[in-house]
Amino acid sequence: MTVQLDARPPVAPAPQRSPGRLSRLDTRLSPYLYIAPFFLIFGIFGAYPLAYTFWVSLHDWDLLGADHPFVGAENYTRLLADADFWHALVNTLGIFVISTVPQLLAALWLANLLNRGLRARTGWRMAILVPNVTSTAAVAIVFGVLFGREFGMINWVLDLVGLDAIQWKSNRFASWVAISAMVDWRWTGYNALILLAAMQAIPRDLYEAAAIDGANRARQFWSVTVPLLKPTIIFCAIIATIGGLQLFTEPRMFHSGTNPIRGGPLRESQTLTMYMFENAFAPHYNFGYGSAVAWLLFALIAIVAAVNVLLLRRLGGVDRPQKGAAR
């Protein structure tokens, strides 16, 4: 430092804003102010209805009744003896299984295809994702026609290859398959992209090591890729479970004509959410009974998600990635 030669008068220091009370208040309160909207909205329209569903399910509560007496567990006991409920439960689980398993396998396969040096990378990714961004109700209508009895394109193709036409809407199992096709059409590409992202994070030298050990491509896929993807596969399976067990729009719009909320004349593909809807809203408006269905559906989702995790934990041999890396 030298002697200051500048003759100009020293500039008055900018009025240093002392961390006054206002500023302290700002740092203190701002965070709560910023997160408040979520908790406000969720409190009123999320948490409260959740608890209230349970309360309603303990009452005999319908649209027209002036009062709604407390009935305890009666809605639940009635529900457990309700054949239509069990029928819808079986439908839901059936559609869930025959959609989810092929969906995840196909997604895994697609991701594996996309995880290569491809031309027009983004183009392929967009092509397999586009079903996911279409309107669900619109697509369900389109599939309803594709799977039509007389002039549906699927039956026409079956006829071309010499097979008999299938009653896609009035045969219970066939309607499950048709609805599963719709679900898989929408979600396979989405899951493939998620799995692809995880695949790209796998270090290449693991494959080199496996190749040196004499593993061919298929072997590498099953003993390096799949085990390392386990967390992502579990993630996809859980998302598929939460979505699959709540399935509503696809089966609802697959059927048209009279009373489509029943999922066909003999409830061929009525899911639990449709059954809840049928009871809670038009035509019955029995809120108490509908709420009981909602809670049992929630319990079912929790159970199936837990079973999924347990099953998928056993997937593949290698449990810790380090083991593979050390070789």
Partner: protein
């Protein structure tokens, strides 16, 4: 073997089949929408567009049961409002969770993550009762207000803000006397723009698509969202499929447009989210 595996012709063949299966139903939707009803009875089914689109559109908008135009306008209003609001509030809350220190931060974040696991169906019935009390049945606030800010949005913005906004910049702004609100506006929001765009796109598409809750609460056929117009068409006009398909095509068009324009960002958002998950 540091490079990616090579793609064989077989890889491309498989991808062409997968892409074809993905695109065909959408393509065919537009084919039927552009033809007369005779196309429904033809075998083999026609797979090229016809010249009847104008007549179908006219019939659709003249249809007095479906209220299709009202549905389109309502859906545009609902989806736009929800999108703006979700992005705004989520970026505020995400910033707070990622960059501000306050008591109870971790516990509250856990609550937000937990809310993402709860199925919507569970609350539909009491929500309906609540809307009856508020006299919002059959009115748009019923489908707008409950989703003004979502746990998914907050969580996504929090994840992104954690890595995209530098602490030094925030400190520097504070030294300069910026209040928290100005820091959010001048420092945080510009850095969050890519994630905000993806969140906005996803929110718009989800809201445009929403079916179950509008179906439950908007019972007045004269005031539907576009998805409810489709329901009215599908349930009542299965004799006139080219009109129904014109409706489905128009209801899908905004989504396809968004996807064609921003597909790269949407794919990026999905894949980045996956790695973090």
């Amino acid at each position: 073997m540091s490079r990616l595996w090579r793609a064989s012709p077989l890889t491309y063949l498989a991808l062409v089949v997968a892409a074809g299966l993905s695109v065909f139903p959408i393509w065919w939707m537009f084919v039927v929408a552009s033809r007369s009803n005779d196309a429904m009875g033809q075998l083999p089914p026609p797979v090229t567009p016809g010249g009847n689109l104008g007549a179908n559109i006219a019939r659709l908008f003249d249809n007095t049961d479906a209220y299709f135009l009202t549905g389109l306008i309502n859906s545009a209003v609902v989806a736009t409002t929800v999108t703006v609001s979700v992005v705004f509030f989520s970026s505020l809350a995400g910033f707070a969770f990622a960059k501000l220190r306050f008591r109870g931060r971790n516990a509250l974040l856990l609550v937000i993550i937990a809310t993402m696991m709860v199925p919507t169906q569970l609350g539909v019935i009491p929500l309906y009762l609540l809307m009856t009390k508020l006299h919002w049945n059959d009115r748009l606030p019923a489908v707008i207000v409950p989703v003004l800010v979502t746990g998914f949005g907050v969580f996504m913005m929090r994840q992104y803000a954690g890595q995209a906004v530098s602490d030094e910049l925030i400190e520097a702004a504070r030294m300069d006397g910026c209040g928290t609100a100005r820091i959010w506006w001048h420092v945080v929001l510009p850095a969050l723009r890519p994630a905000a765009a993806v969140l906005g796109l996803l929110t718009f598409m989800t809201t445009w698509n929403d079916f179950l809750w509008p179906y439950a609460v908007l019972n007045d056929p004269a005031n539907p969202t576009v998805q409810l117009s489709l329901r009215a068409l599908s349930d009542g006009y299965y004799q006139d499929m080219s009109q129904v398909f014109t409706g489905t095509a128009i209801a899908t068009l905004p989504l396809l447009l968004v996807f064609v324009l921003f597909g790269r960002q949407i794919i990026g958002g999905i894949m980045e989210g996956a790695v973090k998950a």
